[in-house]
Each structure stands twice: as C-alpha cells, then as structure tokens.
Symmetry: C2
Subunit: 198 residues, 2 copies
DNA sequence: CGTATTTATTATCTTTTGTTAACGTTTCAG
DNA sequence: CTGAAACGTTAACAAAAGATAATAAATACG
C-alpha cells in the first residue's frame, strides 16, 4: 500500500483532468500498489502485454523500439507522469516497445483492467479516460507535425526552446538523437552548428 | 436535414465505436445538417476555430499546414471518415491547419459543441468520445513510430503494403510526398528505385 | 476541343545525413 | 581503485535528400 502523500500526488494529476470526489477516489485506492524499479530494469519488455499503469513518484524512464537490432528511443517519462504502453493496453496486443528505467524509480501502479472497470462504474472515470486520450492526441499530433514539416535542425531548436527542454538536460545525447529521429553523430553536428548553446 | 440512409451511414460508424440505442441517437439527430463542399473549397481555413464535425458521405479531403509559404499535406479524409480539426476543437484555439476538399463532397455535419453537450447528457456518448480519442491515439502512435524509425523509402514501401494504400491510388504524388515527410522529387526517385511497382 | 495549369520525371548541383572508425572522456561495476 | 563499457566528438567517405530548373505528360476547364 503506497503512502498517503504519494497517493495524493497521483490524484493531483488525475484531478487536473477531471476533479474527483472522495468517493470516486475510493474506487481506485484499494487497487494501488507501490513498486520499485531499479535503474536498467524493465517496466515492460517487448512482447509482453501491458497490464499495469504506473505513476512515477521518483525517477525517469524511456521507451524504445527495436529496429534492425538497434534500440530506438522515442519517448521519455519523468516524475509525475503516467507510464504505460498505452498502445498495448488499448489494443490488447503484445507490446512492440520496451519501457526501461533510466534511474532507480519509485512508482504507484494499478492494473489497467481496473481502470477499464472504473470506466463502467463511474462516468467521472469514463471522462477521465476520454480526457487522458485527448491529451495524448494533442501531444502526438504536435509532435507528428514537427516530424513531417521541420528539418532535424529545426526540431532540435524547437525542443531546445520548448517546455520539454528537460529532456535535453537530463537524457544522454544519443537517446535524444533517437527522439528527434536522427543519428547521434548528426545531432552532435547540429549542436556544433548551433553554437552549442550551453 | 440529411436523408435517412445517409444518417444511418453515420450511425454505422459511431456504432462501431459504441453501440447506441435509438434514444441515444435521438439526442444527435436534431442537430445534423447536410452540407456540400465543392472541390477546392475549404472545410476549415487556417486561423478559424473548428466548430463542426463532419462525416463524409462522398468525396475526399486533405489537411495541410503552411510552412515557409509551402502547403504541407499531412492527412487525408475519405468516404465514411469523420473530418474535423480535432486539435483545434479540443484546445479551442485557432486552427493551424486548413482542410480542403479534393473533390466535390457531400457531408453530414453537427456542431462540436453538441458532441461535448452529449458527453454531459449520456455516458454512452462520453464513452464514444473516449473510444474515438483512443482510436486516434493508436493511429498517431503508429504513424509517429514510422516517422522516427523508418527511412523515407521504408515508409513508402510500408504505405504501399498497408491498408492505407488507397492514399497512393487516389491522391496526387506530390501530396503523398508531404504525407511521407519528403519532397516530391525525392518520392519520384524512391518510386523509380522500387521498380515502380505499378 | 484546345489552351493553360497541374503534375511527374529527370538532370545537375548542393547540402545534409548516414556510416564507420578513431579518439579521448566519463561513468560504472567489481 | 581499476579495467571495461558507455558516451560524445570529430574525421572521411558514401548515400540520400533538398533545391532548382527543364521537359514531358496528364488534367482541368472555359
């Protein structure tokens, strides 16, 4: 059972999508567990079906696809983020991506099935599900346009000036290169051209 | 007021997300309108806020972003698709993209506001909203991974072998190039390399 | 129809990125 | 503490893509 203050962090996030009553919360609380994932360990490995939704109390994670024997990191998860292979959970298919801890992580988790069950139990939770998916649509749409319309260099500069700059500050550069859809060598050159703005 | 059989096409689509009762349907029907959009005309122009959701009975559309004075087409809409700047509707901000008819189009439309109102009125509709957003997440996630992980040539080949091949068959090639995130000249070369599989 | 516009291909040249490898530095684990 | 692994930069070369322009073909439309 997770600590009180940790649980309230999770509900702070959920509340930012849909304000919940104490009663709504009670539905979820019995199904929360506390988990530790050590640096380098996996939250989810390729081929497994996603069963859990995590909430990161501390630490960070990445997810990556294996393509031609290479790990292609396409997303990062930080403190206060939900972490899950949403795609695998939604489709019920084995995950094509792996999620790995970049540092020792403390999380709260609950079964994805419980979330779906709560969609049935309460319109509030159903609304949360909608808002969450809509939030993801907005993020994915923005990122996809950048990939389609901007050059790698423009993408780097935009990331540098965005609210996701913490990715640049906290993640190794070759993973950022993946995230931008280019090679590490290419990113090194782009940074040099840009005058290595610290 | 749209024709009976046209309305039933719309509900066929909605039913594939969430089965509706006759009563659920009655909520929406009074707000449906029939619309024609001529080839070349706009469903939505950049800078406008999206107010409507369309359902294409006949015809096709594209949406594009203006970048450095160039139109970058990043999505196509066909018969039986919903058409809307979901991003603009969700965020309530002026649209950064324009949606234009590629051929004469017949549509049913209803105000996005009505959809949101129905989210309030009925959990069934709320669920539809969730399923729709989840469906979009799945599509966006897949496409984004392709953009990050595959080369332009691999992306072309995958499109060629996908269930979206109709894009290749029905759309002009320079727009497909945009859709793949490359230039028309480059796509022409890729097709040549690929042996111009018919 | 027939003319104007759009579209696709090809060629040439430039720029960028990918690939591979070497090197020095940092990080990490035993 | 120390050797191994991981990381970032740089160089040299190859491959691919972008830019521009010319041309040919297809299409649109008055």
């Amino acid at each position: 059972m997770p600590a009180e203050q940790d649980i309230s962090l999770l509900f702070n996030l959920i509340n930012s999508f849909v304000p919940l009553t104490q009663q709504d919360k009670e539905h979820l609380i019995p199904h929360l567990s506390y988990r530790n994932v050590k640096k380098g360990d996996y939250w989810l490995a390729e081929g497994e079906k996603e069963q859990q939704v995590g909430f990161i109390l501390e630490g960070s994670m990445r997810h990556f696809y294996l393509h031609d024997g290479e790990e292609k990191t396409t997303y990062f998860y930080f403190q206060n983020n939900l972490v899950s292979s949403y795609f695998s959970a939604l489709t019920g298919t084995p995950s094509k991506l792996s999620i790995q801890a970049m540092s020792n992580c403390r999380l709260i988790s609950f079964p994805y099935k419980m979330l779906v069950l709560m969609y049935e139990l309460s319109p509030k939770w159903e609304r949360f599900g909608r808002k969450l998916a809509e939030y993801l649509v907005i993020g994915l749409e923005e990122r996809m346009v950048e990939l389609l319309v901007l050059s790698p260099e423009e993408r780097y500069n935009r990331l540098f000036n965005s609210n996701k700059k913490k990715i640049l500050e906290r993640m190794p550069q070759h993973l950022i290169a993946n995230y931008l859809g280019i090679t590490p060598v290419s990113l090194s050159r782009i940074r040099k051209r840009a005058g290595t703005k610290k």
